[in-house]
Subunit: 132 residues, 6 copies
């Protein structure tokens, strides 16, 4: 259970109102996800995080699917329940099928293994370009 | 400094020879990266990890750049020095420029933040589809 | 569900009895939190951890609220459910309101982001004093 | 060594110029820390992170020392070299002496231990208020 | 709830059939653990991970109990719910009693503390042999 | 470089003297490892951590090699440089050869992979005993 009271979707706080409206419009959804309702317990922080996310999560050199795949890889590596659920749904909505999701997980799993092996043996970074 | 002696490129161990040759051929490089030379202190483990990596790191639903981007996102989240260096070089070789790298980092940074906020407030996973 | 049987509050083990009594007296509570009941499955470890915690968690250069805030920051960074709940309750009991809790989380989130950016770009520690 | 070229302090990029000037003015320092020079390889990301940090890192319910202590606790928990150095220097500049720093570390160490014990035994969050 | 549909024990996929049969025979169990049923949503990845695990998890220089204890130590350090439950059951089946489990946890907890202290003070690795 | 001045081996502080002497006698070494010299900047914390470690690190249900192997597994999972070096040296002194070290790493690597896969697919803990 969340450690703060989730703020009502119809909050009267003007910052919360503005941000919630923008979240729903930007994401084309009808309900505000609970993550944002928890952050709204501190309205100025809500606005700061939402502004940051909105700036980062738009197509650039990387398309939206790639960005959501990175988000899922980070969340799986951190073991964040809420985030894994949320970003799995996002990559699926953006068209990744089960086989594609399996590939994401296979890469995430593999490099979590090699990361620990490189650290576990304390291998120094390669200095010759071809070997990096 | 590595905690095990890095195995010489010209090792006489038949498993090590076979795997080192395959690494150089597959990656089109002239020198065996130090990660593999460290693993070679246990030849059967070397072969197991290389076989695993070779299977996962081929184009499928995801292309190679996307897979290397995931590898970099995992490595940055774990703070693995060797791996960050190695996978940064890999994404650059596959054509990602500085702006693209900046986008990868911006997404990695952002979701490491939101992961901790979702955990820090103990937000339960959303149950309505639109909110995931 | 805990992987060990939680030890009864009225355990007859003399070490457990002594530690449980001290926990309730020190924390001014009527029930032993489940964390300590799980540790009690190994009484000598229970005593060791409790003694350690009792020594560290007293006012010194830092007051108790600051110490509990650190505990919460560590727990949120690690994503430890039990601990986040427990230390959130502690900081609230010590007087931190929702806005203060929001500030803790905003700082925890921010530096989890910058940590991964510093690692992700492999930035070397600054050497000029002013820049640290 | 950083994986991107650190941007020169006298960069001609207008965003970089503006942000670097603000960093030096806000922090009252003469040189731009290398973290920001690395981020500047992607100017819009530099601005986004700096704006976020500037908003969070001002006195509120929590004073600046407490906020830097949280930053240090997060960085030590994550094992981020650059960040540990940077935030240790910051808490020292804000007046924390060696004994105070020792207390921060003692609390960070302690709760990293109890976090893993609570997780390791899979203890469920306490439900009675007094026990949290 | 798992983010993918768990594959039925009686799946008609030939790879899944073969791997599920081998899991049950090797582990001498009647039901396929849910971990493997989730992986089976990507049959080739299922086979790759199972082959890897089967190779690593056999007696060698280390006996099976020591290997499962390492698995539990890793899982507790990562806070992985599924894995902690699974490997706790495994060490118990292999004969570790509650006191032994308490010792595992006491060592896991202790070194998670000292890890963060060594990182938190940025202590350089010892160079004199006796001190390591 | 350590963030605190390492305390001299011949410190005049009575607590530091007593603990340093005990460390050398207990570990049968001539020099105090730098970890303890860093902790000594806060003598009471030094004593607390040393007492804790001395209590945990003695033979019980588990022998010393198994305990040091756990310490190494935890340190590799956390990526703690100082600790990986220190505990690798310890397991080698206790007789583990390169092949044995390779087995430790193979198990550490494997379960860091499966941990992330179990989390990444959000697999719920098994409830039937045989499947754990």
């Amino acid at each position: 259970m969340a450690t703060v009271k989730l703020v009502d979707e119809n909050s009267l706080d003007p910052i919360v109102q503005r941000v919630f409206r923008d979240i729903k419009a930007t994401k084309k959804i009808d309900q505000v996800p609970d993550f944002w309702r928890a952050l709204a317990s501190d309205p100025s922080h809500l606005e700061l995080v939402w502004t940051h996310l909105k700036n980062v999560m738009q197509p650039g050199k990387l398309d939206m699917l790639t960005k959501e795949i990175i988000a899922l890889a980070v969340s799986a590596t951190n073991g964040c329940r809420y985030c894994i659920n949320s970003h799995t749904a996002a990559v699926q909505r953006l068209g990744l099928d089960n086989e594609g999701l399996g590939e994401v997980m296979s890469v995430v799993g593999l490099f979590n293994m090699t990361n620990k092996l490189a650290d576990g043996y304390q291998v120094e970074p390669d200095v010759f370009p071809e070997a990096r």
